[in-house]
């Protein structure tokens, strides 16, 4: 029963991870740029939610739409203004560019907030539901619900809207897309914006669960990659599945072995997947 509680908690956290990773998957899957500043963008959103909470008392859950919009705009601007020139450039240049961006974000946050951990005080922080004998933290349930709604919204967007389909066309065949008249630059900017929006939403939700501090960013960038590769590039359900898996494995390994070991298992999983099934669990075949 204890294990069940842990697994469920892992699943709930994993849903938020999935939303974060979804952003990464979308960016990498369409634009083929590795967003090494992914974690930093999420932390930025977390701080935005924190500030909003301090100033107005607004619950991060309710701040979610604002965080999403803010990060969308940031992502759009970054892609259009800066990153777009680096799409065809070698991997290491892209890496350095995003590293620089990430460093500036982290440094700005450090300058603004200092290195101490910050969190939001929630009235319902200690509430929990009990369903079929399993104890569910209210905070986790709400966060997971938010995440699933975000994932669903994005999936619907790509499936049913014209822009969404246009973006998918770009991902499949960039030259072809240009030939039929799609404005690839604009679509890429929207895509990056959407990826950033995911991460903004995820950040707002994550603030419900953990404290924020400028230096946690790289861990989440890495986590995002593990999840995306695990679940399969280009697969949105893969990102979610990967997130859930990683959430559970972290929870379990943290409990069974030791808390500091939880990422070790994730890395081992990553190594295994990269070697054995690089397209991931749900990704399109090689």
């Amino acid at each position: 029963m204890l294990y069940l509680n842990i697994i469920v908690a892992g699943l709930l956290t994993g849903a938020v991870y999935g939303l974060m990773a979804l952003g990464l998957s979308v960016i990498f899957g369409v634009i083929r740029v590795v967003n090494f500043a992914h974690g930093e963008m999420m932390v930025l959103a977390m701080y935005a939610a924190y500030v909003a909470n301090r100033k107005t008392g607004i619950d991060p859950l309710l701040f979610l739409p604002a965080a999403t919009l803010l990060l969308f705009l940031l992502g759009y601007a970054l892609q259009r203004g800066l990153i777009n020139r680096y799409i065809a450039r070698p991997d290491h240049e892209q890496f350095l560019l995003l590293l620089a961006i990430g460093t500036i974000i982290t440094a700005s946050l450090l300058m603004g907030f200092g290195p101490d951990a910050r969190n939001v005080q929630l009235q319902y922080a200690y509430d929990s539901y009990e369903i079929a004998g399993v104890l569910l933290d209210k905070v986790r349930v709400l966060a997971a619900a938010g995440a699933l709604i975000g994932v669903a919204a994005l999936t619907l967007f790509f499936r049913f809207t014209r822009t969404g389909k246009a973006i998918r066309a770009c991902a499949d065949n960039q030259v072809g897309a240009q030939v039929v008249g799609l404005d690839v630059k604009r679509l890429y900017a929207i895509t990056f914006g959407l990826g950033a929006a995911c991460v903004g939403a995820a950040g707002s939700l994550l603030l419900l669960l953990i404290d924020v501090q400028p230096y946690i960013a790289p861990d989440y960038t890495l986590l995002g990659f593990i999840i995306v590769i695990l679940g399969g590039l280009g697969s949105m359900s893969g990102a979610l599945l990967g997130g859930l898996l990683v959430g559970v494995s972290e929870a379990l390994s943290g409990f069974i072995i030791e808390p500091s070991f939880k990422s070790a298992l994730s890395f081992a999983l990553l190594i295994l997947v990269l070697l054995v099934r690089p397209q991931g669990l749900l990704g399109r075949g090689a």
Binding site: H92, T106, A107, L222, S260, A264, F267, L270, L274, L275
Partner: protein, 326 residues
């Protein structure tokens, strides 16, 4: 060729200046220069696998750590001189590097995926060492600091000056090795693989073998630097030695200086360390957390935006040292 002669002269000048510098500057500057030389050396070593052979490794701190721990543990537990312990470190690092490369390339894991794989191995090892009791785990491993009046080169116990000259020799040696390799078949083949792997194969190059060799050499060289790091710092913690931040640090200098060039790593090391120190001095006046980092990030951004091929190719042309291409 005139340019080759000029380059040789410039290099000799550089070596002489660096050798005499400690006589004229404070111990603080010497310690900063040691940081530069470490960065230059690690950058040179990394340049071999990523700059020459074109395989992006983002987890090179792994080899720093392996070299550091191997030599340190052998010294602390068995009294083995670091020059021998270093060899053990090189062997272990070369083995691990070869394994990672062989596994990856066998399974066609390349490009970004390969880079992520190197990060994964790096992090995994860090966590492993965090729990490795015999080498101190998270509490760290400490080298006894002997109270000696003179420098002990054999046991690498001594003043910063001793380390300075060791590292200078190491950096110049790495430069020499890189230069030597680039002019030989292995260097040509590595670059061919980097430029176009398919074309390289069609010309008779066993791509797999050469890529693994690049990784093995790069790892071994990095491990040597790791050993010196251990004996210079006198303490080792998995979370600092194997830190991903260190992996990122290692690659920043060569990229800024010029990936795949001969002098890029050294130039990059000088520029970045000077920048870092200047930032520290400036921001300590303001006492603002993160200002140094902000300027650092901004500098990186500027260089990537304006001179993505690195500063050395640009400087080379200005100084009239460009030998046609490199």
């Amino acid at each position: 060729m005139r340019e080759t002669r000029r380059r040789a002269v410039a290099l000799a000048l550089f070596a002489v200046v660096m050798a005499l510098l400690p006589l004229f500057v404070s111990t603080y500057v010497v310690s900063v220069l040691i940081v530069v030389l470490f960065a230059a050396y690690f950058g040179q070593a990394w340049n071999i696998v990523t700059g020459f052979a074109g395989q992006l490794s983002l987890g090179h701190a792994l080899y720093v750590g392996l070299g550091a721990y191997a030599s340190a543990v052998l010294f602390v537990r068995f009294g083995l001189p670091p020059w021998l312990g270093m060899i053990a470190g090189m062997a272990i690092a070369a083995l691990v590097g070869s394994l990672i490369a062989a596994l990856s390339f066998r399974f066609s894991v390349t490009g970004v995926y390969f880079a992520l794989l190197t990060i994964a191995f790096n992090e995994f090892t860090r966590i492993l060492f965090d729990h490795f009791g015999w080498v101190g785990a998270t509490s760290g491993l400490f080298l006894p600091v002997a109270n000696r009046i003179r420098d002990d080169l054999l046991m690498l116990r001594g003043s910063p000056l001793m380390f300075y000259y060791c590292l200078l020799a190491l950096s110049l040696g790495a430069l020499g090795l890189s230069h030597f390799l680039l002019r030989r078949r292995i260097g040509y083949y590595w670059q061919a693989i980097r430029e176009d792997q398919e074309a390289a194969e069609a010309l008779g190059i066993d791509v797999f073998r050469y890529k693994v060799a690049a990784m093995a050499l790069s790892a071994a060289m990095t491990a040597v630097g790791g050993a010196f790091l251990a004996f210079y710092d006198n303490n080792l913690y998995p979370d600092t030695v194997f830190a991903i931040g260190r992996s990122v640090e290692i690659i920043t200098a060569p990229i800024i200086g010029g990936l795949g060039t001969l002098f890029g790593p050294i130039l990059g090391a000088f520029v970045l360390t000077t920048l870092g120190e200047a930032m520290t001095q400036v921001s300590s006046g303001f006492a603002i957390d993160g200002l140094k980092q902000w300027c650092y990030g901004a500098a990186l951004l500027l260089i990537v935006a304006l001179q993505p091929a690195g500063l050395w190719p640009w400087l080379e042309r200005r100084l009239g040292l460009a030998a046609g291409r490199r």
